[in-house]
């Protein structure tokens, strides 16, 4: 079966979507990410969509689910590299992508993840 690779980079997971995914493949990725988050206890996930030529309602919904799933498992998720034409199209389509954090590049996304994860550990273990 076809899978989108999920890489472990330090304490984070990196998903780089390089192909135009059919719906089943997108669902498989969602399941794989959940499994991998549990197995690695990663604190953050970076989802790189810079190669995606479009995000329709199905892929948009999947991105939302992946972010929500990460949240439930105590991890932060950031979607990076959305092309401007894709962003324009998503808005016009009427999709809100609420709960999905975005950053312009992998570097900026990593930096954002760092900050979010640090904030999480601060709220969980306040210094008294």
């Amino acid at each position: 079966m076809e899978h989108i690779p999920i890489l472990k980079v330090g304490e984070f997971l990196l998903v780089s979507i390089q192909v135009d995914m059919h719906d089943r493949l997108a669902m498989t990725l969602q399941d794989d990410l959940t499994t991998k988050l549990v197995a690695t206890r990663a604190k953050g996930v970076l989802i790189d969509i810079s190669s995606l030529e479009m995000v329709d309602s199905f892929i948009g919904r999947m991105l939302g689910h992946m972010a929500a799933m990460a949240g439930v498992l105590g991890a932060e998720a950031v979607v990076v590299g959305m092309q401007p034409a894709v962003a324009i199209t998503i808005v016009e389509l009427g999709m809100e992508l609420t709960g999905v954090r975005t950053a312009l590049s992998v570097d900026k996304g990593m930096a954002l993840l760092r900050t979010l994860v640090d904030e999480d550990s601060f709220t969980l273990n306040p210094v008294s």
């Binding site: 719906d23 199209t89 016009e92 009427g94 999709m95």
Partner: protein, 134 residues
């Protein structure tokens, strides 16, 4: 109106939804439509193709390259012989879904393209035509 090129593709599976939206994109790349035009047409095509597969039980997509008074256009017609849509107004309304979707496919596609037409007859099927002019 002159048809300078046309092609019909089958639409029976999730893989074929990808093939149809990719065909739309590559025709538009070839004709040098803007990136935003490519992205919007490709996205609308994907929404309508998925509806044909999921609700219509599969169908076909016809791609046409048009020319009218010196303007170039691309039209994608997606049809199925599924159950049809009894209440078109309701189906076109944002956030209406009879399934698990966001209910944005039809209303959203209409917003994305220059021309949008839909015909549907209960028991016979559905056909949607979208066009982008350069």
């Amino acid at each position: 109106m002159i048809f300078t090129k046309s092609k019909t593709l089958a639409l029976r599976s999730e893989e074929e939804i990808v093939l149809v939206r990719q065909a739309t994109r590559s025709w538009m790349v070839e004709q040098r439509f803007t990136l935003v035009a490519q992205t919007k047409m490709m996205t609308a095509t994907s929404e309508l193709a998925r509806n044909a597969v999921v609700y219509g039980g599969g169908g076909s997509a016809r791609l046409e390259l048009l020319e009218e008074s010196g303007r170039v256009g691309i039209r994608v017609q997606i049809e199925d012989r599924g159950p049809g849509i009894a209440d078109l107004e309701q189906a076109m309304t944002d956030h209406f879904t009879s399934g698990q979707g966001l209910g944005l496919g039809l209303g959203g596609s209409k917003r994305l393209v220059d021309e949008f037409e839909i015909w549907s007859e209960p028991g016979k099927g559905t056909r949607v035509s979208i066009t982008w002019w350069k």
